[in-house]
């Protein structure tokens, strides 16, 4: 019985990077000129406005009794509109984290970025947001560690998740 896929029938021409850089292969370069202006809608517009004021806000559903962050105008579990706005704390616990030595555009970093999912105090258990942690030696970060938001100065806040500059450990 023949072995599949048959080696001599598996096609494809691997190109090496050097050949491409030396122009040994024709290529066409194109830079897309795409711009979007996304409507943030009811829920996220308020979220961003509150971030500018130095506060975190969530939405609650009285049927399942969850307090949800990031806020949303509909409860995805109960499939009904959410009921109320609810301020939550700007402290939380690290639910999970990583030490990342590669930037989003694939540059090597000497000091790692520390992305984390942070469970927010005041929201329902397990309600986390993505953010970054700083001011701690990478090898000391632990799941369950208590952290607090470090806000940018009011004049520098623009209504963005980056109005929180980073999260730092709460020292006892």
């Amino acid at each position: 019985m023949k072995s599949q896929p048959e080696a001599n029938l598996v096609r494809g021409t691997p190109l090496d990077e050097k050949a491409l850089k030396r122009g040994k292969t024709f290529s066409v370069i194109y830079e897309p000129r795409l711009r979007y202006g996304w409507d943030t809608g009811q829920a996220i517009s308020r979220y961003l406005a509150e971030l500018k004021e130095g506060r975190l806000i969530a939405r609650s559903c009285r049927k399942c009794e969850r307090i949800m962050i990031p806020p949303r105008m509909f409860c995805e579990r109960c499939f009904r509109p959410t009921d109320k706005w609810a301020y939550v704390k700007d402290t939380g616990k690290i639910f999970t984290f990583s030490l990342c030595y590669v930037s989003w555009d694939v540059r090597r970093l000497k000091q790692p970025e520390i992305p984390a999912v942070i469970e927010i105090d005041g929201a329902s258990p397990g309600m986390g947001i993505l953010h970054v942690v700083k001011k701690i030696a990478p090898r000391k970060v632990r799941i369950g560690m208590a952290v607090r938001a470090v806000w940018k100065p009011k004049a520098k806040r623009i209504g963005s998740v980056t109005d929180i500059a980073y999260w730092e450990p709460i020292k006892n």
Binding site: V28, L34, Y36, G37, D39, F74, E76, F79
Partner: protein
């Protein structure tokens, strides 16, 4: 057709040039709530969900990530089709016929207003090696096609202008429409050329909106609280992918799709169908699509029909009573579903000022816009097909 499949609910937002107060999620939630209410179903009864969306129209990659929550689809079967909503209807029908689902939801929306560079987006759809380097406005693809279409058929530019005027006027009676206008053909023919012979007033403007459709198998449809719109036939097809090898005169993708739909529906003569909601992204396309649907022979007949008013709401074969894309607006992948909405309302007798008499069968057709040759056809009727 074995095993009936029907639309038992529709929910939709009105089409608007922009929707600044709502995110796409909030638009979808609104349409979904309306659809489930109309269908008399709870979200947790739905077996499968289909979204019709293109990443780059949204500006987000892997767009299906962001669709389940606002449809009640969390931890349910859900997938995206990068196609028009009518392809989604075909997909849902196939799922139901395969026995894997009883209730399937199809959703499509447009936040076209959030795309700040629409022409560059269309440019991005052109072939990167053969076409883009030439640096032409993508609407020129339609201009090229319109030119040879008129030349070969003998249809005249003024006929296309009449299509634009007809559809904008029809939209005056459609509360969902974004661009109703008492437009005359003369106004159309004095609007500037965008890509000769295509004029600005012949190009549908984009609009925001969302449609959610609930499809059911025979048993669920028969027990449904709202009047079911039965699916008689579906078809979809692609023609050539490249500009260089395509048929520039005939909408082959529609001819193939329609043939399949007519055969399933056992329709010998398309004129048995009461109304047609066809793509008119560019005014000439309406005529090209009507020919491909078999309503007119190749040649000037389709153009002449505008002189007799045959395709007006009070004519023998009303086309785009809703106002079409020219009158309603072009909501990207949701275009076909807004046409389905019109058919469903007409079949139920709920089309108010637009209501035609004796509506038993209707046809919706979509095209995916330049530079594609992709389209779909759906035929709906009031009675369950035998």
């Amino acid at each position: 057709m074995p095993d009936g499949v029907a639309i038992i609910g529709v929910g939709f937002t009105s089409l608007q040039p922009s929707t600044p107060h709502l995110s796409f999620k909030e638009l979808m939630f609104e349409a979904a709530q309306k659809a489930y209410l109309d269908a008399g179903v709870q979200s947790n009864e739905i077996d499968s969900f289909v979204t019709c969306a293109e990443d780059l129209n949204e500006g987000l990659s892997i767009f299906d990530e962001y669709t389940p929550d606002q449809l009640g689809a969390v931890q349910k079967p859900m997938h995206t089709l990068t196609q028009d909503g009518l392809h989604g209807i075909a997909d849902a029908l196939m799922q139901i016929r395969s026995g894997i689902a009883e209730l399937v939801v199809v959703e499509a929306h447009s936040k076209a207003s959030n795309v700040k560079t629409p022409e560059w987006l269309l440019d991005y759809a052109l072939d990167p090696i053969y076409n883009r380097p030439l640096g032409f406005n993508p609407h020129a693809v339609a201009g090229l096609e319109m030119n040879v279409f008129l030349h070969e058929t003998g249809i005249r530019a003024e006929h296309c202008a009449q299509v634009a005027a007809k559809n904008r006027r029809n939209a005056l009676r459609n509360p969902v429409a974004a661009y109703p206008l008492a437009l005359t053909p003369m106004h159309v023919e004095s609007s500037p050329y965008v890509a000769y012979p295509l004029r600005e007033a012949e190009i549908a403007e984009r609009a925001d909106g969302c449609v959610v459709v609930v499809l059911a198998n025979e048993a669920r449809a028969q027990s449904s609280q709202s009047k079911a719109a039965w699916i008689y036939g579906v078809g979809f097809a692609n023609d050539s992918a490249t500009l260089e090898s395509r048929d520039w005169v005939r909408a082959e993708y529609v001819r193939i799709a329609a043939e399949r739909a007519y055969r399933q529906a056992s329709i010998q003569n398309p004129r048995e169908i009461r109304l047609f909601e066809v793509d008119d992204t560019y005014a000439y396309k309406e005529l090209q699509h009507l020919i491909a649907l078999g309503l007119y022979c190749e040649g000037a007949e389709a153009g002449r029909s505008l002189e007799t008013g045959e395709t007006k709401p009070d004519g023998k074969i009303p086309v785009n009573v809703s106002g079409g894309a020219l009158g309603m607006g072009l909501p990207l992948e949701a275009s076909g579903l807004y046409r389905v909405v019109e058919l469903v309302l007409q079949l139920r007798g709920q089309a108010s000022a637009r209501q035609l008499a004796d509506v038993r069968l209707g046809l919706a057709q979509s095209w995916r816009g330049v530079p594609t040759t992709s389209g779909a056809v759906v035929i709906l009727g009031t009675e369950q097909p035998k």
